[in-house]
């Protein structure tokens, strides 16, 4: 049986337009052999959860540079759980202080990448930590 390719949704919530990182990550993950769906900008948590379910993804990567990470991450996780997709791995990156990063992990965010993380690190992390959903 051919191994199913992991599907990753790269999502850009919030009102800001800082999509340089999201686009680089999307492209690096695609080059790394994953199926990548990029949502485009200005997504609400509802739009992201809906896209994750519709696209049947194994992981959702959120890119947040607006400072609203403490609001947006938990909301996406809540909405995924509400839609029966609580097992989708949620990870993310952006300008996220260490103390917030620790709190986010307690709230169910599986990994938080901060400025300086390489695309290789992120591709490797997805490869080693994300499993196909049942």
């Amino acid at each position: 049986m051919a191994e199913k390719r992991l599907r990753v949704l790269v999502a850009k919530p919030g009102l800001d337009g800082h999509d340089r990182g999201a686009k680089i990550i999307a492209r690096a993950l695609r080059d790394g052999g994953f199926e990548v769906i990029y949502t485009g900008l200005h997504q609400t948590p509802e739009m992201i959860a809906e896209a994750a379910v519709q696209e049947d993804v194994d992981a959702v990567g959120l890119s947040i540079l607006s400072g609203a990470h403490m609001t947006l991450f938990p909301e996406v996780i809540r909405l995924l759980t509400e839609r029966g997709a609580g097992d989708v791995a949620v990870f993310g990156g952006g300008i996220i202080p260490d103390e917030d990063s620790a709190k986010l992990k307690q709230l169910g965010v599986t990994a938080v990448f901060t400025p300086g993380a390489s695309t290789e690190d992120i591709v490797k992390w997805v490869r080693e930590n994300v499993r196909p959903r049942e």
Partner: protein
């Protein structure tokens, strides 16, 4: 005498050369040496004198000997009264002009009380929903005496109207109001991505504002044609130069098609460049930009007023070059970038604070950033002579190279039918994404270095003090907006909004109806909702 090639072969190659790629930050290959052979243009037509066509050496005749650049630090956070305090602090520190950062809801055309604003009110800038916030923002600041820059684009028409109405309420006639509103929508689709409606109606709104300011607020700059965001999104220096100037040409074309005389409005167009870390490349970019704009305005639009030909510019050091790691190093980066800005002849500048990759800057960090400019101006002596690097073989060769490469992009965009069409097919967007990806790869392969990140890194905790935004202020602002909406005259609001919608449809200039609307407490979100209904909403095509 030897030619450069002979010197290379006979002398240079006898020496050692480290096995690295000698290229600019934007990856232009750089030769070991430049000589008169590398400079093609002659002095009179390519360089000329400062204050004279083609302005390569500077737009003003006496440059910094006549007047230093304006030191203009961008500031804004929290509620209007918080930013008002920071503004008054900066004015007290000797800053000459104000520059306003708005929060994401204001920038995207949402009221603080809108559901899309949750978690973002006052976070990246100041929250301004109505004229009442604008009044708090400029409390005790005489609008007739300071020049104010407002960094806002898709909702710029509403914010400009609020500023003008606030001037009116301080008793300052519009003719005396000076400042700049960014209002460069083309670069939004290309890079910064703050939009409401699609590009064509957005350019119509920009053109309305150009026309309105030309006739009613002639000291105000209605557009700041911005390369900054293009560069920050990952473009090369040449792409920044090319796409920005192509955007400028599109606005000028639109103004001319509106029936305006190019020499009536072009003198009020200004530019905004990013100043990155590659010292010579940045200086060459600033010089090439001036020469290109002067030539294009003369050749394409027949502009005669010398002020129409002058590329006057604001500049900001490159936010994207700052690192979260070893943040004190950022002070050094900013100093070098700012020096490039001054040697490149900018008219005003913002220097970034060392802590800006992490959060909004603290007062201490802002002061160091401002002092950096003051040290350049008053200690280094670089202001004593105009364009001191002019005539240097390397700088002139690089200036010519960047102009030629940027003109090649402009030629391609012309062939596509102009910038509006190029944006529709995603041309500049993809070029930038490609350049950003390439740079990231070079960084990860160690071809390019960022000190403290991919070289010389140390284990560390972020040591510097950060400015935190109190989350409770969002609730206060929401309550304030709701109360204002309950108390205002709803009949007047409805009538004012009807007038704005009518102007959207019948093509009359939008600014007068919008000014009337903000006088009647209409909010930025309500005006933007009219745009959404009348012009439709633009969606990110999500090109990667």
């Amino acid at each position: 005498m030897k030619t450069r090639q002979e010197w290379l072969e006979q002398i240079y190659h006898r020496g050692k050369e480290r096995p690295v790629r000698f290229s600019t930050l934007s990856d232009l290959e750089v030769a070991p040496l430049y000589t008169p052979e590398d400079v093609k243009g002659d002095y009179e037509t390519s360089l000329g004198y400062p204050g004279e066509f083609p302005y390569t050496r500077g737009v003003y005749e006496s440059m910094y000997r006549g007047r230093l650049w304006t030191m203009r630090q961008f500031a804004g956070f929290g509620l209007a009264e918080d930013t008002n305090r920071r503004f008054r602090f900066l004015l007290a520190q000797g800053q000459d002009g104000l520059s306003t950062a708005f929060d994401m809801p204001t920038l995207m055309g949402y009221d603080a009380a809108h559901e899309r604003s949750i978690g973002e009110v006052g976070r990246e800038g100041v929250s301004v929903t109505s004229i009442h916030d604008m009044a708090r923002l400029f409390d005790q600041i005489p609008i007739g005496k300071v020049s104010t820059s407002m960094t806002v684009n898709c909702s710029a028409s509403a914010l400009l109207a609020m500023y003008l109405v606030q001037a009116e309420r301080q008793g300052v006639p519009w003719e005396q109001v000076s400042g700049t509103i960014q209002n460069d929508m083309l670069k939004e689709y290309i890079a910064q991505k703050e939009w409401i409606c699609p590009p064509a109606p957005a350019v119509r709104i920009v053109t309305d504002m150009i026309e309105f300011c030309t006739k009613r607020a002639p000291r105000f700059h209605p557009v700041s044609i911005s390369g900054y965001h293009i560069r920050e999104a990952g473009s090369t220096a040449v792409q920044e130069l090319a796409f920005t100037i192509a955007d400028g040409l599109c606005y000028v074309q639109s103004g001319v098609e509106r029936g305006l005389d190019v020499d009536d409005f072009a003198p009020r167009l200004s530019f905004f460049w990013d100043i990155h870390s590659d010292f010579l490349e940045e200086i060459a970019k600033l010089r090439a930009g001036r020469r290109m704009w002067a030539r294009l305005m003369k050749e394409r639009f027949g502009a005669k007023n010398p002020r129409s030909l002058m590329l006057r510019t604001h500049a900001q050091t490159a936010g994207v070059s700052l690192t979260a790691q070893q943040p004190m190093n950022n002070v050094v980066r900013v100093a070098i970038q700012a020096l490039a800005g001054v040697l490149g002849g900018v008219q005003s500048m913002h220097t970034n604070s060392m802590d800006e990759t992490l959060a909004l800057p603290t007062e201490q960090a802002v002061m160091v950033a401002l002092r950096t400019q003051q040290i350049i101006a008053e200690e280094t002596g670089v202001i004593n002579t105009i364009d001191p690097l002019g005539g240097g073989y390397a700088i002139e060769a690089l200036t010519e190279r960047m102009e030629a490469d940027a003109m090649e992009y402009i030629r391609k965009i012309d062939e596509m039918g102009g910038m509006l069409h190029a944006i529709d097919i995603g041309y500049p967007q993809r070029e930038i994404a490609e350049a950003a990806f390439l740079y990231q790869r070079q960084l990860e392969q160690g071809i390019k270095t960022v000190v403290g990140v991919n070289k010389y890194s140390i284990p560390e905790e972020i040591p510097i003090e950060l400015l935190k935004i109190d989350r409770e202020l969002e609730e206060r602002q929401i309550q304030r907006v709701r109360k204002m909406k309950r108390e205002r005259n709803s009949t007047a609001v409805r009538e004012a909004l009807r007038r704005v919608a009518e102007a959207c449809r019948n093509g009359e200039n939008l600014m007068e109806p919008i000014c009337e609307a903000v006088r009647n407490d209409v909010t930025v979100g309500e005006i933007s909702d009219i745009y959404r209904a009348e012009f439709g909403v633009y969606k990110d095509p999500g090109w990667i």
